[in-house]
Each structure stands twice: as structure tokens, then as C-alpha cells.
Amino acid sequence: MKNRISEQLISALKAAGVDFFVSVPCKLLSGQIQLLEGDSSISYLPVTREEEGFGICAGAHLGGLFPCILMQDSGLGNSVNAIKSLIQFFQIPIVMLMSYRGSPGEPVPAQAPMGWLTPELLRLMQIPVLHCHHRQDIADIGPLVSHAWVTQSPVAILIDFNLMEQN
């Protein structure tokens, strides 16, 4: 379902130079994915798993593009080695746009244990994070994305369940 938050997020990423997107599906990211599917100004493809997505994004960056992966925060756990031994080791800028499943509002209890770990795991992995609690936080995406490019590093945008649910 497209909504203003989906449009704000994708516009902010594109305005900051992101031009290559992959996604692992999430109910909360369906609006963004729908926008990307219909956007001929960027490259977009769905992938089967987060780790695979990091590999594809690394290849796209070797070819000169600025990649973003859309994923649930649970996918962070699937991708630790790829982020460490590929993305950070070869200094590849990438934006991780993550729906923060397991944050308050989440109806699926199994999402919570990984959700409790996510902020601390990002910190331990030395990944700069923008945690969006409110709509106005989206305005800070531009500087974070520029930071990824300048430092040739991954950055994460973590979006609360309740914010993603808003229309």
C-alpha cells in the first residue's frame, strides 16, 4: 500500500544519490517496493534472501552504482558475515532501509527477540543508524546517506513499526 511515508522515504534516498535497489519483502515495506517496481529511473530487483542481496549490491557498487537494500531488521542476523567480510572489508557504501519489526505495535511475538537485539547489534557492527520514530525524522535521511558515500560504509535506517503503519 503506497502512502506518504513510502514516497518520502524513496524520494529522500533517490535525492541523496541512491540508484540501485534490492528488496527482501516485508508487509511494512510493500508501499516502497511498489514504488520501486514502477520507477524506471532506478534499477530494482527482488532477491531471495538478505545475504544474497548484500552480494548483489556489492557487485552493483563495483560497477559504480549506489545501492540500497530494503529488508526487515530480522534480516540483519542473516547477514552479519556478508556485511563484515564483504561490505565493510571492501568499503562498499550501502543503505539498509529496515522495517523495525519487533518494535512496539508488532503483532508477531517471534519478531521481538531479534528486535530487542537489533539496535545493539548495529552498534556492535559499527553501522551508523538513523532510528526513525516520527515522520519528521525522515528529513535526516539525506545527511546519513551522504555519510555512507563519503565514508564508503554501510548505514542503516531503522523505521519503527508504528511509523510504518501510519498513512
Binding site: L45, E52, I56, A58, L62, F89
Partner: protein, 184 residues
């Protein structure tokens, strides 16, 4: 023919392509046989060679070859579905299938028993899947590069690896020289 001999036979036609080479001994063998700027040796991220190759192939007109192993493909089978549906004409996946985890002590993989990666690739939707002997691989690779059809080549070879040292290149030097070779 083992993997070292297969790589040795392919090196002449790899010159005009961009090569993503699987982690561990395959990269060490390629590096030792012939080191060129258009080789991207995976130094980490086990299993992601085919994915890096696909991502790169979507950004360039040059031919991109992912030099993969059977064990590596088995741990990222979803990649075959993505390749089947999104591979451009300039991408070739070569699976050097020696039925063995060569970098970790030659433990057998399931391709040495019942599993066929060619059948899995076909089932994933890949159109041009070729299973061949190591000896025939060079000629078949030359053909698909000339025809520019996205292809998966499963090259059946013997197990066994050369004892070689770790690649002494800094990752950023490796990245930068590879990127220069894309532009040249």
C-alpha cells in the same frame, strides 16, 4: 582435470571479461596462475560469488564471469532463481563442480552423490544450462561469450587443490584496480 588445470585452461579467454572468483583456494589458484586487474578475488563472504557477479553484470556491457564452486552455490541456491529471472545477456556463471569443499579439506559435497546443480539451475528457470567436462569448458565458454546469452556452465572436474598462500592484496587496492579495469 582438477580445478587448477581447469582455471589454467580458461585464463586466456578470461582476459577480456570481468571475473568474480570464489573465496579460498579457487581465488588463490587463479591469482597464482595469472593475476590481472580484471580479477576480483573474494577474500570473504562465503557463498556470494554468483550474487556479486550478477550485481556487477547489471551495471556494465562487458562480459561478467562468476567463477563459482559447487559447495558455494549449494549455500546460496536462491541466487539461481534471481539469476534465472534477472540475468542480463553478459553474465555467465561457471560452476567448477568437483563434488568437494576444496578450501576446507576436501569434504564431499552432495553433488558427489545425488544432487545435480544443472537440474537445479534448470528448475530455477535458467534457459541456457550446460553440463560438460572440464576439458570441454573452454570451448563452450568461448561460444556463449560470443553469442552473448546468459548461461550457467556446470563443469564436472576432479577434486584436489594446490597448496597456495593467502592472496597478499589489500582489499581496497584490489577493489580499485578492479574498478579501473571495468572502465578501461
Amino acid at each position: 582435470m582438477n580445478r587448477y588445470q581447469l582455471i589454467e585452461s580458461l585464463v586466456p579467454i578470461l582476459e577480456d571479461t570481468l571475473v568474480i572468483c570464489n573465496i579460498g583456494i579457487p581465488s588463490q589458484e587463479l591469482f597464482s596462475i595469472c593475476d590481472r586487474d580484471n580479477h576480483f578475488y573474494m577474500l570473504g563472504s562465503m557463498g556470494l560469488c554468483s550474487s556479486i557477479g550478477l550485481g556487477l553484470s547489471l551495471t556494465t556491457k562487458k562480459s561478467v564471469i562468476a567463477l563459482e564452486g559447487d559447495g558455494s552455490v549449494l549455500m546460496n541456491l536462491g541466487s539461481l532463481a534471481t539469476i534465472a529471472n534477472r540475468s542480463p545477456e553478459n553474465f555467465v556463471l561457471i560452476i567448477m563442480d568437483n563434488g568437494s569443499y576444496g578450501s576446507t579439506g576436501d569434504q564431499a559435497t552432495y553433488t558427489s552423490e545425488s544432487t545435480s546443480l544443472a537440474m537445479i539451475a534448470r528448475g530455477a528457470g535458467c534457459d541456457n544450462v550446460i553440463e560438460c567436462s572440464g576439458i570441454d569448458t573452454k570451448e563452450l565458454l568461448g561460444d556463449v561469450l560470443q553469442q552473448r546469452v546468459p548461461s550457467v556452465i556446470v563443469s564436472k572436474i576432479d577434486p584436489g587443490s594446490q597448496p597456495l598462500p593467502v592472496i597478499p592484496l589489500h582489499p581496497i587496492i584490489l577493489r580499485e584496480r578492479f574498478r579501473s579495469s571495468i572502465k578501461s
